[in-house]
């Protein structure tokens, strides 16, 4: 008797870095779990089971986005768990990690539990809470990290703002030094809070206060020294500056347990996009120089950057279309992240791309998935590698309709999203 979570995915090129697999295979799913990965495409052991024809697709371990803002609770006009998780499914993600800067923020065990329960009702994509490092994300008093971990927080971060107190950050890391949950650092020195874009030639021209690369790299160095002092696993969110990459390389060479992520917009866009006071291109950290874009792409190639993240930050068009200094920062990213990241990194192997979207993220967050090995949850992402499509934000599932990629044509297209054996997109 077949269940709702029984299904055969037939005819795809299956790529799983954890098994060194890249071949035409059938993925057999029973009870939401991978039961077999077979090369006998024609036959099925059970003719009553639904067969999904995946010819022409790549099937890989489900993609996990470690950095999204789902806005619920508090800013449901920008995004809800339902719209955000639908966007994730459409974008090829089987799981997301939700950043804590909601209103109220996710800074105690109750908030973690509420988010998990609400997300389970709102959508099929898995949603992992990230707990705040400090109460109210205020950078001062340490939040209840251990109770949040027990309630299901997969990581800790004051994302959106840098934990301003070194003392609080250091003590927070020591508090949970025995737990596996990593810290995720948004690196931007708080004294540059008034900056509106990257400090460089374009900001000079526009007469706009700038945020120097130094403001990111200095905090990255500070935080990775905390990692060294406490032995914690540390992850640098949305790295934007080549100086920060140098800091990350230094830390890794010293044996500090450090990783870094890149976003599609930092891999694609520079400060040049801000000319003419293009307020909708404002984002934190800011789009930097062409050299930084190149350095970030190189850092993926040389393995300094091992994680991709969308930093999905939906806002209403009204919030983005304001005078330059007042426009909300960030982009709707879930539905373009896969395509735009592949587009930026043409020479990177498919194996590495899948590791960075899936395997490495699962390892970082300590969550299931990241593999198609027998016995794993059947979280699967299907892609077409060459099925060009044009970004049209009016078709987004997300409520956020502002993207730096409007009108761009990309070759890679998410084709199938499977969570626990269920086709969710």
């Amino acid at each position: 008797m077949s269940s709702r979570e029984d299904r055969d995915f037939v005819g795809a090129r299956v790529v799983d870095p954890t098994q060194g697999l890249d071949a035409i295979r059938t993925i057999v799913v029973r009870n939401g779990v991978i039961a077999a990965v077979r090369d006998d495409a024609a036959s099925s052991s059970d003719q009553t089971v639904e067969r999904i024809d995946c010819a022409g697709m790549i099937l890989s371990p489900g993609f996990i986005d470690p950095h999204v803002h789902l806005r619920e609770p508090g800013d449901e006009h920008k995004e809800t768990l339902a719209s955000g998780l639908a966007a994730a499914a459409a974008g090829g993600f089987t799981a997301v990690a939700a950043m804590p800067n909601t209103n109220p923020p996710c800074d105690d065990a109750d908030a973690v539990q509420r988010l998990r329960a609400a997300a389970a009702l709102a959508g099929s994509v898995r949603c992992y809470p990230v707990g705040a490092v400090t109460l109210g994300l205020e950078g001062r008093a340490i939040a209840g990290l251990r109770e949040m971990a027990a309630a299901g927080a997969v990581a800790f971060s004051d994302d959106g703002s840098t934990t301003s107190s070194l003392k609080a950050l250091y003590h927070a890391a020591r508090l949970v030094a025995d737990l596996p949950q990593p810290f995720l650092s948004h690196c931007d020195d708080p004294s540059f809070a008034g900056a509106l874009m990257h400090e460089g030639a374009v900001a000079d021209m526009l007469g706009v206060p700038g945020d120097p690369s130094l403001a990111e790299a200095a905090i990255a160095a500070r935080d990775l020294l905390v990692a060294q002092a406490t032995g914690k696993t540390w992850h640098l969110c949305h790295v934007s500056a080549q100086e920060t990459l140098e800091v990350l390389r230094w830390a890794r060479s010293r044996g500090i347990k450090a990783t870094g992520e890149a976003t599609p917009h930092h891999l694609q866009c520079s400060e040049e996009c801000l000319r003419g006071f293009s307020a909708r291109m404002r984002v934190h950290p800011p789009l930097r120089t062409e050299q930084d874009v190149d350095a970030l792409r190189d850092a993926v190639r040389d393995g300094t950057i091992t994680v991709f993240a969308s930093d999905h930050a939906p806002h209403t068009v009204e919030d983005k279309e304001l005078p330059f200094a007042h426009a909300a920062v960030g982009f709707s990213g879930l539905e373009t992240a896969v395509a735009a990241t592949f587009d930026a990194l043409g020479s990177v192997s498919l194996n590495t791309m899948i590791e960075n979207f899936s395997t490495n993220v699962a390892a970082l967050l300590g969550v299931p998935g990241g593999t198609l090995k027998v016995g794993s949850p059947a979280d699967i992402t299907g892609l077409y590698l060459d099925r060009p499509w044009t970004v049209d934000s009016s078709a987004f599932r997300s409520k956020g309709r502002v993207t730096p990629f409007e009108g761009r044509t990309f070759a890679v297209r998410p084709a199938l999203t499977v969570v626990a054996g269920v086709v969710v997109s």
Partner: protein, 304 residues
Amino acid sequence: MTKARHLLDLDDATRADLERLVARALDHKRGVADAGQLLHGRMILGMFFEASTRTALSFAVAATRLGAHWLDFSAGSSSLAKGESVEDTMRTVRAIGVDAIVVRHAESGFPYEFARHFDGSVINAGDGRHAHPTQGLLDAMTLVEEFKTLDGRHLVIAGDVAHSRVARSSARAAWLLGAKVTLCGPPLLLPADDPGWGFASLATDLDSVLPTADALMLLRIQKERGDGTELPPFADLSASFGLDERRMAALAPHAIVMHPGPVNRGVEIASQLVSHERRRIERQVENGVFARMAVLESCLTEIR
């Protein structure tokens, strides 16, 4: 920006644009027949979100001399202050019959937002640190009056360059007309890249560049800007980049001194030198009216 309906900055301006506007400004100074008919009956709205005496007055006189109506807008009690969107405010202003908006705002880029939504003409009267294009034009006009052609001439702009919209616009205008421009200040207050803004030389020692200057422009120190982490105290700048008797004597005999005003006496210019014969400060103010007449005429003839 040839014959554009907006004047937001000089970033896309060509030498021909500048020459045309300066020539027209000089025409107006000499007197144009029936100037009062050129914009007869047109409505020009001044929206000064930041305090201004000379620029607002100068625009008002320029508009009046061209036959237009100058309307003063009280920014503090506006619908914008009540939370109305820029787009809706712009539609309303246009529907009421305003042809052009002259806008000043403390934030860089604010006039761009008006221009995105306003069907008429938007003229920037100074936005944050970004641009003050009519000041650039009046300074170019003053230099052309003095030297005929700016080819081969050397303009030194000294002081707090980084926070100055005047520096950005006046430097570009002079450079477009052929002058060599040197920006002089402490490294913190200069553009990070050399050449600055893509065209200007940078110097940190005023005394070394003074002897080759044909014109020295001193910038007002923007004490109202920043939180103390972006600017040194007055005295620190005044000693290194202010004009005193010794520096006045180091200038070439024909060199002139300019300042966009208002002057912080004893800071950018020693008090006793404010009325020195080299100064062109009142000439700049006087020329401002004619430069703005040229701009209003040019922009407003591009819209119905």
